[in-house]
Each structure stands twice: as C-alpha cells, then as structure tokens.
C-alpha cells in the first residue's frame, strides 16, 4: 500500500514561498489503479515527482508497503519499487532504445523480451529497437518508449504522467489496452495522471486535485460528471472588472 501522510511541497519564487501541495494525505491499496486528474497547475505532476523523490517534500511522509521512503533519494526509491514515466521524457544522443530498456530492466534482455515491451506501447519493435533515443524520434515516439521502459522496469508502483500526451489515436487505443492488462495482472499499483475519459474510466478510483489539495475522490462514475459539468471555467477577472480581462 502507498501512504502519503500530510505531504506539503513548496517552491521558492520571486514573490517568496509558493505552496504547491498542501497537506496531502492519501492511501492507495496495492494492485489498485488510481487516476489523478484536475486543472493545469493544480499539483498533479508535483505529487508524482515528490513520490519519486525528484522534488523534496517540505513535510509529511511517504510510505510504500511499510517502507518509509521520505528520506530516501531517487535511486533508493527506484530500488524500493517506485517508477515514474516523465511527462516530457529527456532524449539521449547515442543511447539506443534497447540500451534504455535494459537499464530499466536492470539486466540484458533477449530480443523477444525487448520487442514485447515495445509492442505493448504500439511500436513496431524491428523499427525501433536499434534507434537512438534522440531528436530523430517524434514526441509521441519518445513518449511511448518512456512508457515501455516503465513496463520493462516492472516496479510494484508505476506512475505515468499524462501518458496520452502527443500520442496518436491508434496508439492511444493500444496504450489503454496495455494499462487495462497491467491492472488485470493485479500485482502492480498504477497511478496515472490523465485528462482522458477513456483512461479515467479504467480506474478503480479517481482523485481530483486542484490548488494543491485533494478536492474529491471516488469512482469514475462519480467524478467524471463533476468534471464535465465544470468544464466552462470562468475567469474571476471578468466578474470583477466587467469584461476587461
């Protein structure tokens, strides 16, 4: 089980300290599929990066299956079973797709094993396995390779940050099927940051984060109608200054 206890994260800005996550407490049972959604700038990516250890928590605790991760660095958290697919994955000149998959797996992979991971993200393995993970790949291709590395890593907690971003409709359908199959295995806790209804509907539970706080939590059938009814977002300035925004 993943437990977040009173998690607070702040960043220093020109105007002083800005609170990004405000006292987040959360429990995710092992094997569950949680989708985190909410407006841009609400703290979703910060939450994911704080669990991975990329961003430091100002206060609070992060516990995975009884192991306190709070004071562990990124590498130690990765070894403790946390993995995180970046929203904007970096590229590596000279590093092959196969190399990256093997680093993720922590061992040499047979060709069929590497291919299986790529196929699960909708990439034709023979076209990609020997390619460099560099600027010659499109944003959508790099994104799918990133997801393949998380599958190769095989951690017990997998966090995906907007996996659908930049991915075409055909590949997206393949990807949702991969997430569904991963969940059906029952041995992986999945957290996906997403705005896509198809992904939200796969989840056991949906967490709505806005303004650095958990606004609501529940099954997709409860949260989705709330999101959809709230899609016409007003601008406060319009009310205040009579349309001069």
């Amino acid at each position: 089980m993943l437990e977040l206890k009173n998690l607070c994260v702040s960043a220093q800005s020109e105007g002083g300290k800005t609170e990004i996550l405000k006292n987040i407490s959360l429990q995710v049972e092992s094997g569950k599929f949680l989708v985190v959604t909410g407006p841009n700038g609400g703290g979703k990516t910060t939450l994911a990066r704080t669990i991975m250890g990329i961003m430091p928590a100002e206060s609070g605790e992060i516990v995975l299956d009884g192991t306190d991760l709070t004071d562990l660095d990124i590498t130690a958290r990765a070894k403790a079973g946390v993995s995180y697919a970046f929203q904007q994955p970096p590229r590596f000149k000279g590093m092959k797709v196969k190399d990256l998959l093997e680093i993720a797996a922590g061992k040499a992979l047979r060709l069929d094993e590497s291919c299986a991971f790529l196929t699960q993200v909708g990439l034709c393995a023979s076209d990609y396995i020997a390619r460099d993970v560099d600027g010659s790949l499109s944003g959508g291709e790099v994104k799918r390779i990133e997801i393949a590395t998380i599958l190769a890593r095989g951690s017990k907690l997998m966090i995906f940050d907007e996996p659908e971003a930049g991915i075409d409709l055909w590949s997206f359908a393949r990807l949702t099927e991969t997430f569904r199959q991963l969940h059906a295995r029952g041995d992986v806790t999945i957290i996906i940051i997403s705005h896509q209804e198809r992904i939200i509907r796969l989840a056991d539970e949906v967490l709505l984060i806005a303004g650095g706080q958990i606004r609501d939590r529940g099954p997709a059938d409860k949260i989705l109608p709330m999101i959809l009814s709230d899609t016409v977002v007003g601008c406060n300035m319009l009310d205040q200054e009579a349309g001069r925004c």
């Binding site: 990329i54 590498t75 946390v82 993995s83 970096p90 000279g94 590093m95 680093i103």
Partner: protein, 309 residues
C-alpha cells in the same frame, strides 16, 4: 616477439588477440620497428625505401578484405614518425584498421606522429578505423599527432571512424579529404575523450570539388576535469555538392571546449550546413536514469558511453 603489454595494447586499438588473423594483410610496428608483417590475398604491404613507413597496395576489385596496421609505443621517451601510403584500386571495398597505443611508465614524453595518405581510385570504398589510446604509470606525456589525407576519384567513398579513447595527453589531429571525382563521398565519425590536463586539437578540411560529391562530419566529444579541446571542421564546396557538419561536445568540471566550424560555398549549387553544440549533461537525463535505479555516477557513465559510442 611481442610483450604482454604490447599484446594488450594491440587488443585495445585493433581488436587483435594475437599477432594476426590468417591470410590477412598485417603490419605491426612497435617502438619504430617492424614487429610483424603478413600479406593478404589481394593486399600487399611493402616498406618504403626513401623514408620510414609502408606502402599498402590494394588490387582493383578486392572485396571484403581487411588490413591491420597498428602501432605500439611502449619504450618511454620514444619519438616515432611514420609515413604510410595507401593505394586503393578501382572498385575495391576494404576495411583498414589502424590505431596507435602508447604505454609510458617513464618520465619522458612518448610520441607517435603518423602521416597517412590515401589514393582511392574510381568507385573504391574504404572504411578506415583508427583508435588512439594511452596508458602507463609514468609522468611522461603520451602524445599522438595523426595526419590523414585522402584523395577520392569518381564514385569513391570513405568512412572514417576515429576515436581517442583515453590516456592521450596531447593530440593534434589533422584530416584533409579531397573529393575530387563526381559522386565521391566522405563520412567522418570522430570521437574524443579528454580528462585531467589533456589537450586535443582536431583540424579538418573537406574539399568538395566533384559534381554531386558529399560529406557528413559527425564529431562527438567529452571533455572532463581540466582538459581543453578545440575543433576546426571546415568544408569547402566548389561544385554542386552537399555537406553537413555536426559537432557535439559534453563539458564537465573545469574543462573547456572551443568549436569553430567553417563552411565555404564557391558554387551556386553547393549546399553546406553546420551545427555545433557544447553543454553539460542535461539534469533531466541524470534524473531519468536515477528513476531507473542508477546512481549519479552510473547514470553519468551510461550517458557518456552512449554519447561516445
């Protein structure tokens, strides 16, 4: 008879486990002397009579044969200069494995200056692999100053893969390729690693005289600690031709890298471009690999390994 140290260096710079593969043209030079020579079926090696060095003659139409001409300097303080000329016959397609390793346990400077000149006849294809490496417990410098000059006739193609894989204190590399014939092509992959107080200068002139001649220059380097690197890749287009120069360097510690590419178009149908980038390892790259379970040091090693592959 080669010593164990010499054999180890040969393995590093020429992938040679023993003296030579069978039925292959091989010339091993150690401390300025011929240590071993064998002739290939269609490739002959002869000593020069007017100065130190060898002539390598590759018969027209030779396909798939290799030539090994590694050099080992293991006597501290030894200064070596050699002239090697390659005559590659029409339509030949061969691989030439050169390279030099220095083992210096003394306090004097060890140095090897190799001047290689290639003459490629019509439609000849050459892959030239050159690895430079230095080692040893002494305080004497390991210095390598290679000059590689190539003349390409119509339809000839050369692929140069040069790498300096560590331990060389000073290097001044000069490469000149003249694509004289129509449809000739030169591809250059250069890899360079410097550390400590090492310095490296790589100067290059590619002259595209032939119609539809082409060149691609891909230079990758890593400069660590206090080392200094300077690159001068220059391409000149004197006919309808295409050239692309790409120089990428990773800089670490207090190292300094200067890249000064130059392209000159002297014909309206010459298309030349260059790009150069110097920067440290991106923080996100390290973070990404740490999330896959690597430490900072392991992540850095993997990034550099890929970059210099």
């Amino acid at each position: 008879m080669l010593t164990d140290i010499q054999k180890q260096i040969l393995a590093r710079v020429a992938d040679m486990k023993d003296t030579a593969p069978a039925h292959t043209a091989v010339n091993i030079r150690t401390n300025g002397q011929k240590a071993y020579r064998s002739q290939g079926e269609h490739i002959k090696i002869e000593s020069k009579t007017d100065r130190d060095g060898i002539d390598i003659r590759i018969d027209p139409g030779t396909k798939g044969e290799k030539v090994y001409i590694p050099v080992v300097v293991s006597a501290s303080g030894f200064q070596d200069m050699v002239y090697n000329d390659f005559y590659v016959g029409e339509g030949a397609d061969v691989e030439i494995i050169a390279g030099c390793g220095i083992h210096n346990d003394g306090c004097d400077e060890s140095r090897h200056d190799g001047i290689h000149t290639f003459y490629l006849e019509k439609n000849a294809r050459v892959t030239y692999i050159e690895r430079h490496y230095g080692e040893g417990s002494g305080t004497g410098k390991n210095v390598l100053n290679p000059q590689t000059v190539l003349y390409l006739k119509q339809g000839a193609t050369v692929t140069l893969e040069t790498s300096q894989i560590g331990g060389v204190d000073d290097t001044k590399r000069y490469t000149k390729i003249v694509c004289e014939g129509a449809d000739s092509e030169a591809i250059i992959h250069e890899k360079l690693l410097t550390q400590g107080d090492q310095t490296a200068v790589s100067e290059m002139d590619v002259i595209l005289n032939g119609e539809n001649s082409k060149t691609r220059v891909i230079s990758r380097s890593v400069a660590k600690e206090n080392s200094v690197q300077t690159f001068y890749p220059r391409v000149e287009g004197n006919n309808a031709c295409f050239g692309h120069v790409s120089c990428d360097s990773i800089i670490m510690g207090n190292a300094r890298v200067k890249s000064i590419p130059a392209i000159a178009c002297n014909h309206v149908d010459a298309g030349l471009m260059h790009e150069a980038a110097i920067g440290k390892i991106a923080g996100e790259q390290i973070l990404k690999l740490k999330t896959l379970g690597l430490t900072d040091a392991e992540a850095e090693e993997k990034i550099l390994e890929g970059f210099l592959r």
